[in-house]
Symmetry: C3
Subunit: 434 residues, 3 copies
């Protein structure tokens, strides 16, 4: 690992927030209590009792008591890490002082919760000097309560232009003797407040996609040895959209995402894991269509691509234009239009194959994937080659390393992982590359 990480989990898939105190319920800690008892795929890697935006301002002192009570009772058994979000604002000393007091209370050993608290989440941070103020309060909390310096981690919500810029300074600032920023853990984007802070607007009120923010957060995490997490996806019903967002994020190196419901937690826990079975994609314009696997053949059923066999060869129709091609040209064209999504099993296979080749003194080998593609009843045999060298091997390893991190730290998910992949694949995946 290029940068030293000062925490246990190398990967965080899920960041799940729960209100700490809900008004008008018999038990204001009800949501906290039910979240604390989640396990398996429904339990997040990081659980965040949220004493900030999810909880009404008037309920936040009660929220602190609820955190203490629920974490004391259930914390030992909770399968993920626990990081309460306290109140903070770069522009409000009063809010910052309140956040400090809440941390002092939550972390008091006499209250019994701190053994199960892994760190705090600090929202609305500003420039790097503001991050240092939060770090300093945590240092004082540790000192007052006789906790080891640096034992409580600090995660921030990046929801201002200042904080986005601060991520560029973090690596250099983390080494300075006057702070304990080595306690940093998660960089979490908060797109709703970021949108407000940037004064951005869209016709429909939808959040802007903010690709640069997500890149900069992922880069900041990479440069400082931290973990990047995307913000909440509001449209809870839209499972497809949530999954698309995660695939986009993964291509940016942002492998974690906020979850608002246990249902979202399940999706987000699974998303970065390779699929059980491989599949073929056909790229038409900007869209990628998954082909139907039938009797070992890959069948395209849409109207946007047509294929006809003629006396001279083939006519391929794509997006309203026809191309006359001979067999080689057709195969080449279709190779360019198709892509293969490898399964967990495929990835492990390729890694093992490359390791064996390396052992035998080879620096690069070709991995081949074959398929019979069917368009309008016409069948074409395709073979996709990809060269693997050391760099390909290492880049392909990311989902496997993530899987291994999950397997090590989340025994509560073993059963579901074995149901998903079969125990043979799980075993090989836990061992490959080590």
């Amino acid at each position: 690992m290029s940068v030293k990480r000062h925490y246990e989990r190398e990967f965080v898939r899920t960041f799940f927030t729960s209100p700490t105190a809900v008004e008008g319920e018999d038990d204001s800690a009800k949501m906290l209590r039910s979240a604390a008892q989640l396990s398996g795929m429904q339990a997040p890697d990081v659980w965040v009792p949220d004493n900030e935006d999810a909880t009404a301002p008037s309920m936040r002192d009660e929220g602190v008591e609820n955190i203490i009570e629920v974490v004391s009772e259930h914390g030992a058994d909770f399968p993920g890490e626990i990081h309460p979000r306290i109140v903070w604002h770069r522009d409000s000393p009063g809010t910052r002082y309140q956040g400090f007091q809440h941390m002092l209370e939550i972390a008091d050993p006499d209250n019994g919760a701190v053994d199960h608290i892994d760190g705090f989440v600090v929202p609305e941070v500003g420039d790097i000097d503001d991050w240092k103020k939060a770090d300093e309060f945590i240092t004082i909390v540790e000192n007052e309560h006789g906790l080891e310096e640096g034992s409580l981690s600090m995660s921030v919500i990046v929801e201002s232009g200042e904080a986005e810029l601060a991520m560029g300074d973090l690596r250099a600032e983390m080494g300075r003797p006057a702070n304990n920023l080595e306690r940093m853990f998660l960089l979490v984007d908060g797109e709703v407040d970021y949108t407000k802070d940037m004064r951005a607007m869209t016709p429909t009120g939808e959040l802007p996609p903010w690709p640069e923010l997500r890149h900069n957060t992922s880069r900041g995490a990479s440069a400082a040895g931290l973990v990047a997490v995307d913000g909440p996806y509001d449209d809870i019903r839209d499972v497809e959209g949530y999954n698309e967002r995660m695939v986009e994020n993964q291509a940016k190196g942002m492998l974690g995402i906020w979850s608002l419901t246990p249902g979202q937690v399940v999706e987000a826990n699974k998303s970065p894991l390779p699929p059980k079975t491989g599949s073929w994609l056909l790229e038409v314009g900007d869209r990628e269509i998954e082909l139907d696997a039938e009797d070992g053949k890959q069948v395209y059923r849409g109207d946007d691509v047509g294929l006809e066999s003629t006396d001279d060869g083939y006519v391929l129709r794509v997006g309203g234009e026809e191309h006359e091609l001979d067999e080689d040209e057709l195969r080449q064209e279709l190779l360019d239009m198709t892509a293969y999504v490898p399964s967990m099993d495929d990835i492990v296979d390729s890694m093992e194959e490359f390791e064996a080749a390396k052992e035998a003194g080879k620096g690069a080998i070709a991995m081949t994937q074959s398929a019979t593609l069917v368009v309008d009843g016409v069948e074409v045999e395709l073979q996709k080659d990809r060269m693997w060298d050391e760099a390909t091997y290492q880049a392909a390893q990311t989902p496997i390393t993530l899987f291994q991190d999950v397997y090590e730290h989340r025994p509560d998910q073993h059963e579901e992982l074995e149901e998903m992949y079969g125990s043979d694949v799980v075993e090989r995946a836990t061992n490959v590359g080590n």
Copy 2:
């Protein structure tokens, strides 16, 4: 407001440049003179007598005299701010000295213009030390002429890689005692020269879109409490393209844009204001099609989406693919494909409703928008819910805050605003959220 702003206008929609002296005219100040007398929607928020690129080098001394004459005469009545652009170049001390001399002359109280001059626009700046040189000259100008230090604002054109990077340093540098960078006002992208400086090229000679530059400018403005403005849109005839660019910019938090003609000023003054009436969009692939409102129904007339009612339910055709759906699935699919663009009235309504709910102790409420969608004669009832909490409320507030800033500072536009929205909506919009 998170960051202290040292100027009056919180929002700038329009940055309109006029040549200061045109050769071969009877009156070389003709264009300046006509621009100075614009008012209402044709008058920009910031007017820039342009003594740099828009004016031939040989005419620039005369340009300074013209600025003085025209601003002395018309400045008091001009409804926007006045910020002349002087000459400057990070690589040319001679040009910088010329710019200094021009500022000295324009700001001389004996010449009568400086009372109506709000600041200067400095083009072709380099790294932050270059910005400080311009700032220092303005400090000397103020000192020589007995003007209050910091009373003249400074805006820059970001048209080099160095300047783009400098925006990341600005927040920290603005606090230092040896400069007066607190006078900073606008960060304006200059894509033509930026393209040259970056040595970029496109096959057709079109400007690259530079999304990262615009993001970084908007972020720099946000972090330092300044206002971000996009560069000129050359194709004056292309009103649709200009508007699309502005919508893109708004999603980046860049709410202002350069205007080259009074016609562009009108478009750009209106673009960030919410529409008079709401509308429904259907998203097909990458395109968003506005539906026709007819008898209270939302009608789709294109060919890319088809809908048929069958014995078992419905067949929805999208982009060449058919989906058999029951009524619930159809409604869900169409909900995902549609979006509502709220009117000014809708936004004010939602804000008022949320304020009332908050007063009553609720932290979040659902806002519902209903419509009857018609595709191929088949009618479907849709209900779109959106949860509003404090953060949604505050993010939604941006267009309203902008409207209020306009209403406060631009009485010359009151009449047109009332014509656009009706006086009832205008009144409610000026009061909501305060």
Copy 3:
């Protein structure tokens, strides 16, 4: 030129790597030897004997000897620059020391190669302090061997988040007295290792596009007076994809790219040069279709756009929607949908025309391009106007300046350039703008 460049080539189109020692061959230097004898369009602007990833770790000492032998023999005649890549890693002092020893050996004047070595390529750099370590080793190499300080250039591979951030510091750090970073030459993206470092992943294992990285590299090069080069394009067969990538890069100001084969070198040497003949594009949705030039007319043959002449005017069908238009509206619509790609000849013409106009005291002139567009047999006359002012002129100059840089430094390509363009165009292009 805004920023002082400390090297000869102002533009680098091609960065071609060759393994320095291949195991199991009679002559382990075979690939090096053949690369060293390339010339004309097959020879890169920068040739990189690659003693890092392309060469097995066990062969790297032999690789150093091969570099010395082959460069001593062929270096004097090689038409491009020669920059060996040595081993380096920000996290491994052992690797860094090995890289230092290899540089010492390669640059030893007794070995006869250093006269033809222009500099070194340093991979896997980290933050700016890590860059300084490599710079310091090169300074020591120069000092030990009695070479002029700064005479060996240094290029880096940007393949980590730290290195991406370091590019933002480079301009300020290059001026400091304790380093010789003025020797910097190329900033080269390395997307495979960058993807690993960022822990990014895609379903198909394809590399993410990393647009922000490429922007930041191009900007870093611009701000520090360096040259930006994109990383390798693995799919060697996919010539179209390679060319599309280069066009994308050019719009970012990144005019150079890695080449893995002499075939890729040819493509990449030609890509940034303007075409021999101009062409018209029709933009349909997100795609740009090149029209067929026939008898001086521009013919569209696809199905996505249809045109019919009716009694009242025209019906234009675009993407499934029909528009009834009169002749003016049709012409306007088609103007918005079309673009012209100028030839080398066109660009030179426009520049000459603008220079003449400027001489005659005009600051801006309109350049017109006419065409007869044919859709479904219906002919429409189009005239595209574009205003040229000083800024347009300078931005348009980039491909010409690049051409002139190539013409000056690559006499071995003169013949092919004359074959491509004709000697008249070549002569005018070498003289315009000077």
